[in-house]
């Protein structure tokens, strides 16, 4: 039988509306716990909980206390206790109105024969918080995915460079500048990421100007350079900017990985070397 407990947090004591912030499950021999905002190392990432828990430092302190109690009951003054004794102590004697643990229920028979860890994770996702959806891929991640799919020699430090420094010629003055990637395949090929910001036209304009400056003063040939962008970031204002950039170099939409890979494969002449 697995008995589980719910860690709760009350943000406003007057309103007294508890939020579930953790699960502690006990099979009689062990206690397994999972708390909101914890990373894989069982430590709280305050950035994850700050918007949900006003007293995030106090919360982190409580989670630390509960974890230490599970690890070593004697450290919190519970001598020679069974896991059930410890849970009783944590429920009845160690509590505040802001943070506390209360009994959740029991699982008498698990037909699927899950482990205590699996049961805890499942209870956590059902009672506390569903797992966060994966964050959308960044332009950089999409670019690298497309380059990998194109067969670019990304593991070869001699032929593939990130944040590669190039020399620009600005009205006769040599200026060093950084380009996102440089790929050696017979000749150097230069690829610059262009991050459009759909919500901030000013940022998109600034980035496009930066990109245009680079390409206008670069010493490379047009056919040796590419601009990588993510079409899912385009909005009304940025379409014109993209058109402007196309006059400097071919543009590649890395949001469509297969098409981008094919284009990159051809442009970087990856078949030839």
């Amino acid at each position: 039988m697995i008995t589980y407990f719910i860690a709760k947090y009350v943000d406003d004591l007057t309103r007294n509306e508890p939020n579930n912030v953790g699960i502690l499950a006990c099979d009689g021999e062990r206690i397994v716990a999972r708390f909101d905002g914890e990373n894989d190392a069982d430590s709280i990432d305050l950035r994850k909980v700050r918007h949900r828990i006003t007293g995030s430092h106090a919360y982190r302190g409580w989670v630390h206390y509960w974890r230490e109690a599970i690890k070593d009951p004697a450290a919190v003054g519970v001598e020679s206790a069974t896991p059930a004794d410890l849970m009783e102590q944590l429920v009845e004697k160690v509590s505040s109105r802001d943070f506390y643990i209360e009994p959740g229920g029991s699982i008498l028979l698990d037909a699927d024969g899950r482990t205590l860890e699996e049961t805890t994770r499942e209870l956590y996702e059902r009672i506390v918080r569903e797992p966060d959806p994966p964050s959308p891929m960044s332009l950089q991640e999409k670019s690298r995915q497309a380059l990998a799919a194109a067969g670019a020699p990304m593991e070869d430090a001699h032929r593939f460079r990130k944040q590669f420094i190039v020399e620009l010629d600005v009205e006769g003055v040599a200026v060093e500048h950084e380009v996102s990637y440089a790929v050696m395949n017979g000749d150097w090929h230069y690829l610059q990421e262009m991050p459009f910001d759909p919500g901030k036209p000013r940022v998109s304009r600034k980035e496009a100007s930066h990109c245009a400056f680079l390409f206008e003063h670069a010493k490379w040939k047009r056919e040796d350079s590419l601009i990588l962008y993510d079409a899912s970031d385009l909005s009304g204002h940025s379409t014109e900017l993209l058109k402007m950039l196309e006059s400097f170099a071919p543009v590649v939409d890395v949001d469509r990985t297969d098409d981008a890979a094919e284009l990159l494969h051809t442009s970087l002449k990856l078949d030839e070397h």
Binding site: Y65, G77, V94, F99
Partner: protein, 260 residues
């Protein structure tokens, strides 16, 4: 370290004066004498002594509601206004050795029979985590039998913060078994022994002068007398009971104990 209290409401209308003062509210934790007639007196006297000694004890005031019910209002020192977890005694002694030693000496001085892990806090929301030492309602005159002057008599030769046959303590102090620095303990004892008589006299007489706190002037004089004797023999008392502090290396005092 001076405590910082969180303002929960701030007025805008000036109350006059050159400093443009305004009305402000701060949060406190209130307790009454409902459970024991000496709770508020114990809190007031112990807070004054502990603060004078140099411990971070939140300031407290006596307040009453519209029905004249009396409260001891300990001001809330937590940065976020949330209850902090109990300390983990070994961590507290390791991270705050100075205060751990001070709390032991203070608890002996006031015969605090309830130093559990929830009566200490270490607030991590401050850049340098801030310690608070609170809840002294079970010290001095106590709450359960023996209580009042009987408790003071019973605690005369014992630490008062460990369970023994006198029944003075309700639990063992969580700090007694921790590794403590003997030098720091001696420094705190020196501080306590240097406290002037008037610190004890003033607060006990102030409490006796307040209505509804159940301390009368002739009792206050006896409490003062007990505290002064306690202060003077503090080092000897700790030395005589060193078995209750098993993890202290007593390097400074000779085998005969302190030279008193």
């Amino acid at each position: 370290m001076a405590s910082i209290y969180r303002i929960t409401a701030l007025g805008v209308a000036h109350r006059g004066g050159m400093n443009a003062a305004v009305d402000a509210d701060i949060r406190g934790i209130a307790k009454t004498n409902d459970e024991s007639e000496f709770t508020i007196a114990n809190e007031l006297i112990c807070a004054r002594i502990g603060q004078t000694l140099g411990l971070p004890i939140p300031s407290g005031v006596v307040a009453e509601d519209a029905s004249k019910r009396v409260y001891y209002l300990s001001l809330d020192v937590s940065f976020e206004g949330k209850a902090l977890p109990p300390v983990i005694p070994a961590e507290f002694a390791a991270e705050e050795p100075w205060y751990a030693a001070g709390v032991i000496v203070f608890d002996v001085l006031i015969a605090n029979g309830d130093r559990n892990a929830m009566n200490l806090s270490r607030d991590p929301a401050f850049t340098n985590p801030r310690v608070a030492v609170f809840d002294h309602g079970h010290a001095l005159l106590g709450t359960n039998p023996p209580k009042g002057l009987d408790r003071l008599a019973a605690a005369k030769d014992v630490l008062g913060c460990a369970i023994d046959e006198t029944g003075v303590a309700v639990n063992n102090s969580v700090l007694l078994g921790q590794p403590l620095d003997a030098t720091m303990l001696e420094e705190w004892v020196s501080r306590a022994k240097a406290l002037p008589d008037f610190i004890f006299e003033d607060i006990c007489r102030e409490v006796a002068a307040m209505q509804n706190l159940n301390i009368w002037t002739h009792d206050a004089d006896k409490i003062v007398q007990w505290l002064l004797e306690r202060r003077d023999k503090l080092d000897q008392l700790i030395w005589d009971n060193q078995g209750l502090l098993p993890n202290v290396q007593w390097s400074l005092w000779g085998p005969g104990g302190p030279a008193t």
